[in-house]
């Protein structure tokens, strides 16, 4: 059985050397043109991961920015969206109906959490917020297990988006992923309009810059925050429903994405939707393209097998290295909210 703690196997086997030699000969076969296409495919993949990250990070950055509230449970709301989508799709037999019903359900659940837990934490320090929202993660991860069972769930692709576009020889780019990209960009546009061009958006921006002043001017900051919070929860739920047909719907599925979402909002500048958008695309690209190219780049300096292992290890660190580098030059992120 697999396990993190297993000892190294020195199992009697054929020597590695001839295999390595043969595979290096094979590597030279694909020409430059193929590699350019491959790079383009990787860029597309990176953008698609980026918009998914943006949907999660947008709510997080607003909540953090406006109310100075650290909500670790944001990833769980993404998971809930995916579970709601999968369960509703199984019940109704239609992806679109499931999406339509899951959005208000995710919104309602977000508001319920706000009412039950988060509301009591705004005046507390960050440590209390982290502890309490981490508790919500544990509670809900176990909760979905009780309700839906421990085995991963499946959500079918929506009818009409099951096919793919041949993007290079032997590889289809699933239409559904293009739909995710489109939906993400559409949502980003909508958010930009809401935040930059509407009165509510103006208040949200003002809240991010200086909430006490806004309060003193007679604006109902609590109500504003409830709005932002519900909208953020719905966006995370939307991301969950959209991701459910391509990713495994299982307890704890939001935890990894949450970490990346925090990286995104820190790089982008806390409270800035525009920053979150740029940073999400950057993180998505670095994560995907880095993973694809690093082992090849390292092969210029190292032998094949250490390049593979070091490349894989370095690729998983790459996002954090980029974050550290950006923060070294711009400590408040790429698009800091003016205070």
């Amino acid at each position: 059985m697999w396990t993190p703690g297993r000892r190294s196997a020195a199992c009697p086997r054929a020597s590695d050397a001839p295999i390595v030699a043969r595979r290096d000969a094979a590597r030279d076969r694909p020409g430059f043109s193929v590699n350019t296409t491959l790079l383009l495919v990787q860029v597309l993949n990176g953008l698609q991961l980026g918009v998914l990250l943006f949907l999660i990070a947008a709510g997080l950055t607003l909540v953090f920015g406006v109310m100075d509230f650290i909500n670790l449970a944001h990833g769980v709301q993404y998971m809930l969206g995916a579970y709601l989508g999968a369960a509703l799709a199984a019940a109704t037999g239609s992806f679109w109906l499931a999406l339509l019903l899951a959005l208000p359900a995710a919104l309602a659940f977000g508001l319920l959490l706000e009412f039950l837990v988060f509301r009591h934490l705004y005046e507390r320090d960050h440590l209390s917020q982290v502890l309490a929202t981490f508790g919500v993660i544990l509670f809900l991860n176990e909760g979905v297990k009780v309700v839906f069972g421990t085995a991963p769930m499946q959500m079918p692709l929506p009818a009409g988006l099951t096919g793919g576009v041949p993007i290079m020889e032997g590889l289809l780019y699933p239409t559904y992923r293009i739909a995710i990209l489109a939906a993400g960009l559409g949502t980003a546009g909508l958010l930009w309009f809401l935040v930059e061009r509407t009165r509510a958006g103006m208040l949200v921006r003002a809240g991010a810059a200086n909430a006490p002043m806004l309060d003193a001017l007679g604006v109902n900051v609590r109500g504003l925050f409830l709005l932002v919070f519900g909208f953020g929860a719905m966006l995370a739920g939307f991301a969950g429903v959209m991701a459910a047909p391509i990713l495994s719907v299982e307890p704890g599925m939001g935890d990894n994405l949450l970490i990346l979402a925090f990286v995104v909002i820190v790089i982008g500048g806390i409270g800035s939707v525009r920053g979150a958008f740029i940073a999400a695309l950057l993180v998505g690209l670095v994560e995907t393209v880095g993973r694809g190219l690093l082992p090849d780049v390292l092969r210029l300096f190292l032998d094949a097998s250490s390049a593979r292992q070091a490349g894989a290890a370095l690729a998983s660190m790459l996002v954090y290295i980029v974050m550290a580098a950006i923060l070294a030059f711009r400590p408040a992120g790429l698009f800091p909210v003016r205070r």
Binding site: W2, A9, P245
Partner: protein, 403 residues
Amino acid sequence: MAFQHDTGLSRRGLIGTGAAIGATALAAPAVRAQPAPIKVGVVAVLTGPQAALGSQLRDGWLLGVRHLNGQLGGRPVETLVIDDELRPDVAVTKVRAAIERDGVDLVVGVVFSNILAAVMRPVTESGAFLISTNAGPSTFAGRGCNPFFFATSYNNDQVHAVMGQAAQDLGHRRVFLMTPNYQAGRDAMAGFKSRFRGEVVDEVYVPLTQLDFSAELARIASMRPDAIFTFMPGGLGVNLVRQYRQAGLANIPFLSTFTVDEATLPAQGEAAEGFYSGATWAPNMDNDQSRRFVAGMVEQFNYVPATYAAHAYDTAMLLDSAVRRVNGDLSDKNALRAAIAAADFPSVRGSFRFGANQFPVQDFWLCQVRRRTDGRFQTETVRRVLEADVDPWAAQCRMPARI
């Protein structure tokens, strides 16, 4: 604090199963006084993302005990379910408590090798027998073999080696390898390469937390291998299989271990249809014991069982035969050990015997995912890849003749 919490959990497990057994005993016509029960600790991961595997293991054991009318070799059995939480320290504390406080006679189960490594000494040094129904690390098959330890599953390396041999037999010349970047992933690649003689076009390691495989899928498409071999347990496998199908790569044969099995198939569904895996057993195995087991699991727990459940079910039958052989007397350890080693029970796998290192000597199969008549999916045997295979570590084991 932690200890009290632990006590509560174990007690509840004991009472729960005790009640279930009480009910079976009532239903049985025999009214005469029963001998003292045998206590068996079943260690499985029942919380966290891998809980589906532990639940299969537990359910397989419980069904075995039920089919034996709540008895092992004529003595009633009391099952103590222990959730190891996939944390070695927790597993050791709970198993120690089960042995010292609850007086468990036998310990069976364990999904993960690191948990097995943690509970190995506490169990075997107490003089109780430990029977692994899944984890089979090389250490305990080779130099670290132990007279108090049996495995009814396999040695971990064997399953990966089976796929190497299968790729060889299927005539694949160029194979792409992909596993998570940790010890077991590297072992899987080594196991595959131990029997595969063709060209490995690329080896890719992905982080254990990987969600999106599109970068790797693009790479596979650009390399155009004859087949891919992968080991992606749990949710990783669900993501990979569905994305592989969506990317239109399914015309490249998908060879795998612990990636498409009955624990993940409900989430993979038709995306996994036709994909290959290596195993000791599959639900379509053509023998009475296997048919009875699969039908029982579907009826009782409403899912198609994977090997985790099958090995646990076999272990219940094995222990039944062993206890019967020693006439219910567990005090003579040498006699009990010989009785277990005899493996005189009907296995769902058909043929089954133990080797000198107390690991199975058994056949390994190439399996393929197919749709059942009830619309669910299961793996089905395609052909026997290895016959009566002895694990590569057995020769290093110096097993003492007597305890």
